[in-house]
């Protein structure tokens, strides 16, 4: 899905300048825990988050996140914006809640990041081993 389409679906606004709206996003992840972002995403993911500190951008850089959407109308502080512009990571704003922002994008066809070994191991431990 093109980043421009995401912007349209969430009726969003651009926070950083010079964004290439033609770039492709392959999947989405909604999280406020940065370790979850690091563990449960892949290269090319769109991140939805309610957290706005600069570590969100660092996390995105490390995890190969394509772009970040801040939910609930949250606008990140200048140091976050400056870091994102330096790293070339587009920042978008959505006025909707995390649930609705993700829901709109998912409904429009953007898939999630799938299942992860880390989760499955825990799942088996809890529900499948007697």
């Amino acid at each position: 899905m093109k980043l421009g389409k995401v912007l349209e679906i969430i009726e969003g606004k651009l926070i950083t300048e010079n964004i290439d709206l033609d770039q492709d996003i392959e999947m989405g992840c909604g999280a406020d825990l940065m370790s979850d972002v690091l563990a449960f995403t892949h290269e090319g993911t769109l991140l939805m988050s309610g957290l706005t500190n600069p570590q969100v951008v660092r996390t995105a850089e490390m995890a190969g996140i394509k772009a970040i959407v801040f939910v609930r109308g949250k606008i990140p502080p200048p140091e976050t914006i400056a870091l994102a512009e330096g790293k070339g990571i587009p920042l978008l704003a959505s006025k909707f809640t995390m649930f609705e922002t993700c829901g709109r994008i998912y409904q429009a066809g953007l898939p999630g990041c799938g299942l992860f070994e880390l989760t499955l191991r825990r799942w088996r431990d809890a529900f499948e081993e007697s």
Partner: protein
């Protein structure tokens, strides 16, 4: 548990950060001297407007400084020429029609000063002077755009060049065993800069031509390890050793150490203070994450001395 408060940047710093975007950083880096045209055509005040028009036409320019002796006395442009033409005053002298005492800029000022002046004063050009008041050049908005494009191109080529040179290093060096070692220092409690070591390592690995999926695993593991050093220790270092077939990362710190390593490895177990959780960390996923990224992981910790984490990721 050390619960240092992160150094919050002052309001002034925040204001500055808002203003300095990457694009604007270029305007701060470049000096006016790098953007201006130093080949300046000037006219004397005694010239008639008709003669001035001819000079503009033959040189393909839209304005010039007016110079008497070696002193700049004014500036004159196409706009003044059109006004004179409308009023039928083409026989008037440049000295009568010019804008006297024009606004000037110094050659060694950052380019951003010129940008500021253009947007405030709406003039088409500014003469550039040296510190003795001598005219050394002229600048137009077009000169600024060109200088910035040139600089962007240079920066871009430099990164390409770094990447090319670095990616051939393993082929260029002849030895039975090659290892490149990179070391990064990590300061305790500096939550704003936390992640810089991982960011620099990521950039270095990318220049070395390491496959992106491998880079991602190394970056994620290193970043989690770096956050642990920042949050829980009294400072430490990250050492990465890159070989053609594998990357080994060590994170060493001095600090309280981990009393029960097995417990610390459990997903969800955390001793992080609230300020760390507000940053989106400290949910007890750091070590399990590192474990998931690594092919080999070892963690040794001595209470009161420090922690030594080592991971290996193979490059297939």
């Amino acid at each position: 548990m050390p619960s240092r408060k992160a150094d919050r940047p002052s309001d002034v710093d925040q204001e500055l950060a808002r203003e300095i975007t990457i694009r604007q950083a270029l305007a701060y880096e470049l000096k006016i001297a790098q953007a201006m045209s130093s080949d300046v055509i000037s006219v004397p005040p005694s010239l008639t407007m008709a003669e001035f028009g001819e000079i503009l036409r033959t040189n393909g320019i839209s304005g010039t400084p007016v110079v008497e002796g070696d002193r700049m006395v004014g500036i004159i442009s196409t706009e003044d020429l059109i006004k004179a033409l409308k009023a039928g005053e083409m026989d008037a002298t440049v000295g009568e029609k010019m804008t006297p005492d024009p606004e000037t800029l110094y050659a060694d000022e950052p380019l951003v000063r010129a940008i500021g002046k253009f947007s405030k004063l709406k003039y088409g050009r500014f003469p550039i002077i040296g510190h003795k008041g001598d005219m050394v050049g002229i600048i137009t908005p077009g000169d600024i755009a060109q200088a910035m494009l040139r600089q962007l191109e240079t920066d871009y080529h430099e990164e390409e060049m770094h990447r090319y040179r670095a990616s051939h290093i393993f082929e260029d060096i002849v030895a039975d065993d090659i290892a490149l070692v990179f070391g990064y220092r990590v300061a305790a409690g500096d939550i704003i800069r936390a992640g810089e070591a991982s960011s620099e390592l990521r950039k270095t690995l990318s220049r070395l031509g390491i496959p992106p999926p491998i880079i991602r695993r190394v970056s994620v593991a290193t970043y989690e390890a770096e956050m642990n050093i920042v949050i829980f220790s009294d400072g430490g270092e990250i050492v990465a050793e890159v070989r053609p077939d594998r990357i080994r990362v060590e994170a060493l710190d001095k600090g309280e150490g981990i009393p029960d390593v097995e417990q610390a490895m459990q997903p969800g177990y955390s001793t992080a203070p609230p300020w760390v959780q507000e940053m989106g960390f400290g949910a007890g996923m750091g070590l399990p994450n590192i474990h998931a990224c690594a092919d080999v992981m070892s963690l040794e910790s001595k209470v009161g001395i420090g922690t030594h984490l080592e991971i290996v990721i193979y490059i297939q």
